[in-house]
């Protein structure tokens, strides 16, 4: 079976539209990062910290029932944990929910309404700090900075410097794109989403390097030809691989999205978006940068 046979699409001719679109994507991503830094985005409890309320029961009702009772009362994005030996339940919400005032009163009235027999009382209410504190955040930024340097160096060493730039920009383009879409959709950004973004970065990087590799190979063989032509031919040659791998990854991501349940829904969504953007970027972002950055000179290593 073959989905995509020999193609001859002139991708580079369309790259000027792609530049406009991708610039918009990157700007959106950068804007959402600024918004996140300013605290205007929907940050999860992992980053924002919040309030933790311990409720004591005479006999704890099942978490499932508490969860649905609280959701019915309009509480959003909360975490539940039970301390079975103590008959206590911990309810955690992030800052923005808790600042609404009378938070524990509201919870207790909801719970008393539903589980009067279990005699719920507020045991304690405390502020909780973020799981990802300032130190962790600083470490992550340093890590990202050094991985850019790492990618640039390796790709520049194995290919050429401009390929390094192309790969780095394309990778960030994808991560920023997904982050931007999440920001626009006002989806909660938590640690799970961060790991999805890192996964996307890995995926996108692989995708880009595969295209580059073919460009490098073709550059060696037909160094007389125009770079546009070489890039176009290379992308067409690896197109079926690009599509197949996107497809298999999408298959598993979609399975997660549809059947995986609420908890991993956002994770799966991020991956689906990331695969789509990542596939687009290895064709329309990474390669045009390689062409534009180094002029028409073609010297393959």
């Amino acid at each position: 079976m073959e989905l995509i046979g020999k193609t001859k699409i002139d991708f580079m001719a369309k790259s000027k539209y792609a530049i406009v679109f991708s610039s918009a994507v990157i700007l959106l991503g950068l804007f959402s990062i600024v918004q996140i830094a300013l605290g205007h985005a929907n940050l999860g409890i992992d980053f924002a910290g919040g309030t933790s309320v311990q409720i004591k029961f005479s006999q704890s009702p099942p978490l499932k029932d508490i969860r649905s009772a609280l959701s019915d009362s309009g509480l959003k994005d909360f975490d539940l944990q039970d301390l079975p030996t103590e008959n206590k339940v911990i309810i955690r919400v992030k800052k923005s929910e808790a600042t609404l005032g009378g938070f524990s009163d509201k919870i207790i009235s909801t719970l008393t309404g539903k589980f009067a027999d279990n005699m719920p009382v507020v045991d304690s209410t405390t502020q909780i700090g973020p799981k990802v504190g300032s130190k962790l955040r600083k470490d992550a930024l340093v890590a990202i900075l050094f991985s850019i340097i790492g990618i640039l160096t390796y790709v520049a060493f194995r290919f050429q410097f401009r390929f390094g730039v192309g790969a780095t920009v394309a990778t960030f383009h994808d991560v920023l794109g997904v982050l931007g879409i999440f920001y626009l959709m006002n989806k909660e950004i938590d640690l799970i989403i961060v790991s999805a973004l890192l996964m996307i970065a890995g995926y996108s990087l692989t995708d880009t390097v595969v295209v580059f590799d073919r460009i490098r190979e073709n550059m060696r063989r037909r160094s007389q030809r125009d770079i546009n032509e070489v890039v176009n031919a290379s992308i067409n040659e690896v197109l079926s691989r690009t599509v197949i791998v996107s497809l298999t990854t999408l298959l598993s991501a979609l399975a997660l999205l549809i059947f995986g349940g609420e908890v991993i829904h956002n994770f799966a969504l991020a991956i689906v978006l990331g695969v789509l953007i990542g596939t687009y970027s290895s064709v329309f972002v990474a390669s045009p940068i390689v062409i534009r950055w180094g002029g028409k000179k073609l010297t393959g290593k």
Binding site: Q81, A143, S240, T248, F259
Partner: protein, 535 residues
């Protein structure tokens, strides 16, 4: 060629068996009968969301943190003034540093080099209130930092560590099998002190040679009034050589003055004593610490020096001669596990005293339905990908599917080997890896198809398709691997854990594609002249 194929088959089989053992034994009934080191280190733990764990709340003593810093400052101050040729007696009392004499020379030197110290009305120094407040406020965060490093060297354990309220730290550990050991590692302050034994005092000879482990309070009561001023009684633990259990204690009279503290350490590591085949903890001091250590050992030759950790004397060897160079060791009939814990606790000494407030179990935060949904999604995803590969690449697809299963097995095995924790999002990550794992095979197959189209024989197509795809696969994987290694090196906590799993995934992927798939193709090619490639 054929021999080579066999060798690679054996390699694959060995790795697969190790992975299968690491993953399956802990979750099977045999797991319980494995030795202790195995049970402590190997096996995948389910995360807090899937099975809950231990819930510990510690209170952090902010003033204690200020005191620790005060003492440290006093140590450094003493050394610095001595270097300037000023003979000064420096003592700490709570949060105060008493300096004698307070000549203008001394106060001038202090106010010049130590702007964070201020002179109080009664002539003692203390840390300025603004600095002290900062120390108090940041103490819980620093405790969190240290505790995180203590329990999660690789970042794969997925604990939940957050600051709670003003001065509390909440720690949730997934699926802890031994709560006592968890408490040992988490809550021990790691406060190391070197003190000199006062064996010349008459009362020292009156102390009993050895007592039973629980009789300390009686001894303390008995000698309460006989202890000379500035001295204290501590106890050396005596352990059984084989079981490492505490069998007795030896009282020892010490001068209360702390000669040297653990905060001047640069490293603590486990070494094995060749003669007795016994583990000990090797210490290295920084230059200041080394200087103090040399001075103290020179001034106290032929006396015993007690190594006190968190109030317990682990050993009290006699100082034979001056020790220069800044290394020391703690020995005391440790088991390897104990020595490791000890070194870890010393390296990550807590910057403030802590007190355990709450120690209870916590249930899974996700309902059974979430787990079932995750499992279902995984199975459906796997079936979809496996079926797609077979439909699209026929027999070759089947080979890729074999590589895929090998991939998952090795990944789970590796995670079990490092004792990783799997949360639901982690499970999602593994499922996703399924989709991505076929990448390398797809690359190879597409190349082989190209070669076939170019008119090559099946065998030639396999070989040159593989050769050409090799560098592509290598480069794309190495680039990702670099990212993962950097993330591991510079990231902390969850970022580090993610990097570990990512590097495993990438490395295993490289292995299954470049060795696994190729071996099967070679095997088929070596058995018969393949006329047509089912790809």
């Amino acid at each position: 060629m054929k021999k080579n194929v066999l060798g690679r088959f054996i390699l694959i089989a060995v790795l697969a068996s190790i992975a299968a053992a690491a993953f399956f034994i802990p979750i099977s009934p045999i797991g319980d009968s494995m030795p202790d080191w195995w049970k402590k280190n190997i096996g995948i733990t389910l995360g807090l969301d899937l099975q809950g764990g231990l819930h510990l709340v510690y209170e952090v003593d902010g003033d204690g943190a200020v005191q620790i810093i005060t003492e440290r400052t006093a140590d450094v101050l003493k050394e610095a003034l001595a270097e300037k040729g000023l003979s000064v007696d420096i003592k700490t009392e709570g949060l105060l540093i008493k300096v004698d004499p307070t000549s203008p020379e001394v106060t001038g030197a202090i106010s010049k080099d130590y702007p964070n110290l201020e002179l109080t009305a009664d002539g003692a120094y203390r840390i300025k209130e603004a600095d002290a407040k900062y120390i108090r406020d940041s103490a819980p965060d620093q405790v969190i930092e240290r505790i995180r490093n203590r329990i999660d060297k690789l970042g794969v354990r997925e604990p939940n560590i957050v600051r709670q309220g003003k001065n509390q730290v909440l720690i949730q550990l997934p699926g802890i099998k031994d709560p006592e050991r968890a408490k040992d590692i988490i809550g021990k302050p790691g406060l190391l002190e070197f003190k000199i034994a006062d064996d010349e005092a008459p009362v020292a000879a009156e102390l009993p040679q050895q007592i039973v482990p629980d009789a300390e309070s009686q001894v303390l009561e008995e000698f309460k009034d006989k202890i000379p001023a500035g001295d204290e009684i501590r106890f050396i633990v005596v352990k059984d050589k084989n079981t490492h259990e505490v069998v007795a204690k030896q009282p020892i009279l010490l001068k209360s003055k702390v000669e040297l503290r653990g905060d001047l350490l640069t490293d603590a590591s486990v070494q094995i004593d060749q003669r007795f085949n016994e583990p000990y903890v090797a210490l290295r001091f920084n230059p200041t610490g080394a200087k103090i250590f040399e001075k103290v050992t020179a001034a106290n030759t032929q006396k015993r020096m007690a190594i006190v950790l968190d109030g317990t004397v682990h050993s009290a060897p006699v100082i034979r001669e001056k020790i220069a160079g800044g290394s020391a060791q703690i020995s005391g009939q440790f088991s390897l596990e104990e020595a490791k814990d000890l070194a870890l606790v010393l390296r990550q000494a807590l910057p403030a005293p802590t007190r355990l407030l709450q120690n209870v179990t916590v249930g899974a935060s996700l309902g059974h339905d979430s787990i079932v949904a995750g499992e279902k999604a995984g199975i459906i995803g796997l079936i979809l990908v496996v079926a797609f590969m077979i439909i699209y690449y026929k027999i070759a697809g089947l080979i890729a599917d074999f590589a895929l299963v090998l991939n998952i097995l090795l990944l789970l095995g590796m995670m079990a080997l490092v004792g990783a924790t799997l949360t639901l999002p982690g499970v999602a990550g593994v499922i996703l890896a399924i989709g991505m794992a076929v990448d390398s095979n797809v690359l190879m197959f597409e190349r082989m198809r190209e070669e076939l189209r170019a008119g090559k024989t099946p065998k030639a197509a396999v070989d040159s398709g593989y050769d050409k795809a090799f560098w592509t696969i290598f480069d794309s994987h190495v680039t990702t691997l670099i990212t993962a290694v950097v993330l591991f090196q510079f990231g902390t906590g969850p970022i580090k854990g993610f990097a570990v799993t990512l590097s495993f995934g990438v490395a295993i992927n490289l292995f299954t594609a470049l060795i696994g798939t190729k071996t099967i193709f070679d095997f088929i090619n070596s058995r018969a002249e393949v006329k047509r490639l089912s790809i």
